[in-house]
Subunit: 210 residues, 2 copies
DNA sequence: CCTGAAAGCATAGCGATGCTATGTATTCTG
DNA sequence: CAGAATACATAGCATCGCTATGCTTTCAGG
């Protein structure tokens, strides 16, 4: 009844946009399609508008993040897992700093919030396991501690991705998360070991601990 | 020798830009000067380019932040002062969320880094006083702890200013800073009191503790 | 098998963008 | 009190995101 839409074109445009972002090239409607063989109208067929492209790019960023977080294997030590998730979060932000910036720029909307919530759920479940295991106090609210861990990760990732802090600053996550988990009731020396092991599972490239 | 440049025009344009930002109106060259009586060329006389205007707007944001931080009166309790500085930081971000976003968007540059460093110095000095007062361990590196405090503040401020978290989330700063300062060696119950008092000095409007 | 309709998508052109070239007005300097 | 340098208004440029138009492709119904 009609010409079929080619999903490969959609991926092509998204990948090219991400690549141009990484190369610090301005991503405009015309520069995006230049050299791809497709015309500017393709962007409107697949994304509706240029804004739709950015939205899709944010979704792509959240998808990559979710994949990265899902790749973290859970262990019998939930505190270790929390640190490993934090390390994976920072690794992802360091590997795709431009995508990370797009994810949290002014255009954040409802669908993005859903994607963010989904990524947060892994943290919440790890906190719950830590409570069950007796590592955290009973009065710890999982969602709150998960949100606080997220704020630490995002604070560091954002300051590094936007420029004010050097990559090395991501290492601050280790003492900061340790402090947070100890305040949640974990035994200090045991916590330090757990966080250290978790961090080593997916440490951001080129960031070594002091 | 030449027609004199009127500083009032510069302020007018900056204020108007900040106001349009708050009102969620698009800030473009033509909409910015519309109704002001000045022409588009004025923007190039005072800021060199539209990018220069954004840079000046970032500086304005850092200046407001520095003013807000400078207004925090230091006390005999350096940990209280650290919390008060954190509260002032978050108050500023909550009052000017759009300006805060502009401050830390992709255009961050060297001069901005200087302005940020200057604002951080107050934190560093407070950490040093806390060490002198015996509240923090000797092995605490002031710049590192100050940076970590900043990361907490920025993480929360950024997540609130860009949308993912509600204003209430700023209250997380209290337990997070408390955990950080305790990990630096402060006595737990004393730390909780100090942070509580510091927070009350400049609490972000409409954010109450749980 | 056609054939008609619906969707993909290339071309061209719209208003609005940031910016610059040019001319005029203004004001401090020697 | 001239002369020159600076401020700034006007107009026009390339490029931006977007849309109107029409050609092309592909599948459904007879």
């Amino acid at each position: 009844m009609a010409r079929t839409r080619d999903p490969a074109v959609r991926s092509l445009l998204l990948d090219r946009a991400a690549q141009m972002l990484r190369a610090r090239e301005p991503v405009t409607l015309r520069t995006l399609v230049a050299g791809t063989g497709v015309s500017t109208m393709a962007v409107y067929t697949y994304f509706g508008s240029m804004d739709g492209l950015w939205k899709a790019l944010r979704q792509e960023g959240f998808t990559r993040l979710a994949t990265k977080l899902a790749a973290v294997s859970m262990s019998a030590d939930p505190v270790r897992d929390l640190a490993a998730l934090g390390a994976a979060y920072l690794s992802n932000a360091l590997e795709n700093p431009d995508l990370y910036r797009v994810m949290f720029d002014a255009g954040f909307e409802l669908e993005d919030a859903d994607a963010a919530d989904e990524a947060l759920h892994g943290l919440v479940r790890a906190v719950e396991r830590a409570k069950t295991a007796g590592r955290f106090r009973d009065d710890v609210v999982p969602l709150e501690l998960a949100t606080q861990s997220w704020a630490i990760g995002h604070g560091l990732a954002s300051l590094v991705a936007t420029g004010p802090l050097p990559h090395q600053a991501l290492a601050h996550a280790v003492p900061m998360l340790t402090a947070l988990f100890i305040s949640a009731g974990d035994d200090p020396s045991r916590c330090r070991r757990s966080v250290g092991h978790g961090w080593e599972q997916t440490p951001p490239a080129g960031v070594r601990l002091s």
